[in-house]
Symmetry: C2
Subunit: 430 residues, 2 copies
């Protein structure tokens, strides 16, 4: 038993005390509000699934991060490290009944067996926004718009954040043109993905490992290092690959019409780590580039099919709460959240407790947030508790049939009135 006495929380998880919880709710509620106004409907899936669901198509990075276990029947299960496979499973299960495009969002709790570090925890929340059943680049545009709509709503400007947009097929095509062999392609993409975070030497080393010559590395760097304003001209100049090229150009046109292109850039480096992306991909970063990605997503046209459904277009992104909260704190955009009450009910010396309880419950019944002190103590102490609890007003109860006092705790003004008048006012303003 003595060992048991100092059980801590597990490293990489968080306790949400009321102040932390209000902040978490503010983020999640804002995600919900923005999703709903952009025409997305909320869904959720179980926190655990059959292990196979996560290992089929997610790639080794995710598979290595699974918390897996077996149930009493010996079945292999895992806590979800992402929700997209569950989403594809759910869509497949009702593929013929669901009108398309399917515009859904979720705010799942996810767990990954990582080494905890700044911006990366073993348990976190992730906003997921997806459009399934449309090949139209409008679907990609809407997802990106929705991400920016949120960033804008919480007060982040193009000076704070940037959406870096890439294209998996176009970059593969480009690398082929520069002489990268098929066998080296995956490693070359990984090197590309890491390039902004590593030194030129480390990049050259990774490329060498992929079997690229110094000449090829030079050509790739020259190609990548054009000014960002020119990168879309590079896209426009791509020969062949009409569909993928036009998708990027149309994406820009749509995002311009929707007024959020100032947040966006084309960037050849963006390829995304996960195995299942097939087209346009993007990541949201802080403009200073000092944090991990705030969000990432793209088109994954094969996943639904791999899970037994038809081949239908799908695109979406995930935004985690951990890096986002760090960024918002850095930018001083987190709201001030504190506990609050409408009323704190205080008893005068002669007042019976039953009357306090009656007044408290009558206020609550009418939707008012009300509380009181469990201790029978003097008015001054009770007023102090009222202030500590963030009450807007104190209701002072003096005895049956006597008028109550309503004290505005912001300015100290107090008015007296019959209890019945106060309650019928609450009824009216409800």
């Amino acid at each position: 038993m003595s060992d048991a006495k100092n059980i801590q929380s597990v490293k990489g998880t968080r306790d949400f005390y009321p102040d932390d919880m209000r902040l978490r709710n503010w983020i999640a509620d804002t995600w919900r509000e923005v999703s709903l106004r952009n025409g997305f409907e909320e869904y959720d899936a179980p926190i655990f699934e059959y292990l196979d669901l996560f290992t089929i198509k997610s790639g080794d990075e995710i598979a290595a991060q699974l918390f897996s276990f077996t149930d009493r029947g010996g079945r292999s299960l895992a806590i979800r490290p992402e929700i997209t496979p569950s989403l594809a499973r759910m869509v497949n299960a009702r593929i013929n009944a669901l009108p398309r495009p399917i515009k859904w969002f979720s705010v799942p709790r996810l767990c990954r067996a990582e080494n905890p570090q700044r911006g990366r925890l073993r348990e976190f929340f992730q906003w997921n926004v997806d459009v399934i059943g449309s090949d139209d680049v409008l679907a990609d545009a809407e997802c990106i718009y929705t991400a920016v709509d949120f960033l804008r709503q919480v007060g982040l400007t193009p000076d704070d954040v940037v959406v870096r947009i890439g294209s998996r097929p176009l970059v593969v095509h480009k690398l082929r043109q520069l002489g990268v062999a098929e066998a080296a392609m995956d490693q070359a993409l990984v090197a590309l993905d890491r390039r902004p975070k590593i030194s030129a030497e480390a990049f050259a080393e990774q490329c060498a490992k992929a079997g690229l010559s110094d000449e090829q590395v030079g050509a790739i760097c020259e190609f990548l290092d054009v000014p960002e304003t020119d990168s879309l001209q590079q896209v426009a100049a791509v020969e062949g690959m009409d569909g993928d090229r036009n998708a990027i150009l149309q994406l820009r046109t749509h995002l311009e019409a929707m007024g959020v292109w100032p947040y966006c850039r084309f960037d050849w480096h963006i390829v995304r780590g996960l195995a299942y992306y097939t087209g346009i991909v993007y990541e949201v970063f802080d403009a200073a580039g000092s944090l991990r990605a705030v969000a990432g997503g793209g088109r994954y046209d094969n996943l639904v099919e791999v899970l037994g459904g038809p081949k239908i277009g799908a695109t979406g992104f995930g935004m985690g709460d951990v890096v986002l909260a760090i960024l918002l704190k850095d930018k001083d955009k987190l709201p001030h959240t504190a506990g609050r009450l409408d009323y704190f009910v205080i008893d005068d010396r002669e007042c019976p407790l039953s009357l306090v309880l009656q007044v408290v419950s009558e206020i609550r019944k009418r939707g008012g947030q009300a509380d009181f002190s469990y201790k029978r103590q003097n008015t001054g102490k009770q007023l102090k508790e009222a202030n500590r609890r963030g009450a807007a007003a104190a209701v002072i109860v003096r005895g049956a049939g006597k008028p109550i006092g309503i004290k505005n705790l912001a300015n100290g003004n107090q008015t007296d009135q019959p209890l019945e008048d106060f309650l019928s006012l609450l009824d009216k303003t409800r």
Copy 2:
């Protein structure tokens, strides 16, 4: 790969499609609203903890239902089957900084390795309401009041639900007086708990297993089977045990003052299964008694101490979403939830897509819920989609500089106005 194609969800878990999710959100949002107006603050803990946290004090019933696993460091972890141990851990970690009483609530996702059946799943949500740091029966009264406040808000009356209140120490005292030996006490309590759900023969059998004589069983039954209106007189007549006896009598007085005693009854059968309860206990049932308990709770004055903290009073309850939803459905109290939008933006034949996108994004930017069709199709089809999506109005866009039409989809009325006027109206009503 072909095996992978038909991965299902795990039995005993639920997929929340948008209709299901709206219902789940309605329940959780109502739990939150009622908690806040009763002066409780929201907290949450990680979904997994060290296994030890759950096995110390929860009793074998919970321990057998754990989904446990090990992380890469070989540490034993488990998905939470309840949140109370995490709550006690969190309170202990800040025991000197938290003003008391600590009035907290949570709506955790919980998992138990049970055999799924009606009203019992392997993953569910549970409303938890607790007061820590008060020995006063006021704390128990507030928890019960809060439970009833919710039941009342969702439209359940004393004809639909009943809060059955018991007292662990009083029933143990009573059983002792009736000659039950200490060694047989736990088994006798289990038999008592099960009595309302089993036959007289099965009850007698369980009592025999506990070593009780037929005579003792007869005395217990005679005692238990007084009319419910007399059970509080039995409590008042208990000799010794003044604290526990008065707690029940005061509880009734407080709940009467708060206007919710009509929902409540004293019932000697209520002892609760979990090991950590120490005083007043209660369970909420449907009045017909055909379902499992909707909620259950009570006082657990030792748990904080067992987890390394001081000996301080604690009391609270949990209400699961599964039985609750069954009951609300039976009583026809579930709300009608459907997807909805404020506006669905429709384009006339000559209107460029960019203008549609612009209007949609301008509405969204102002907080309006707006969507549009990805397909360029005729107005009739777009109107049909607007109706299917539950839009309150269709906004018909005809071309740059032309007035837009606002069609009320409830009554079919349509008015035309310049886009600017419409948007500035949105600005004003925001």
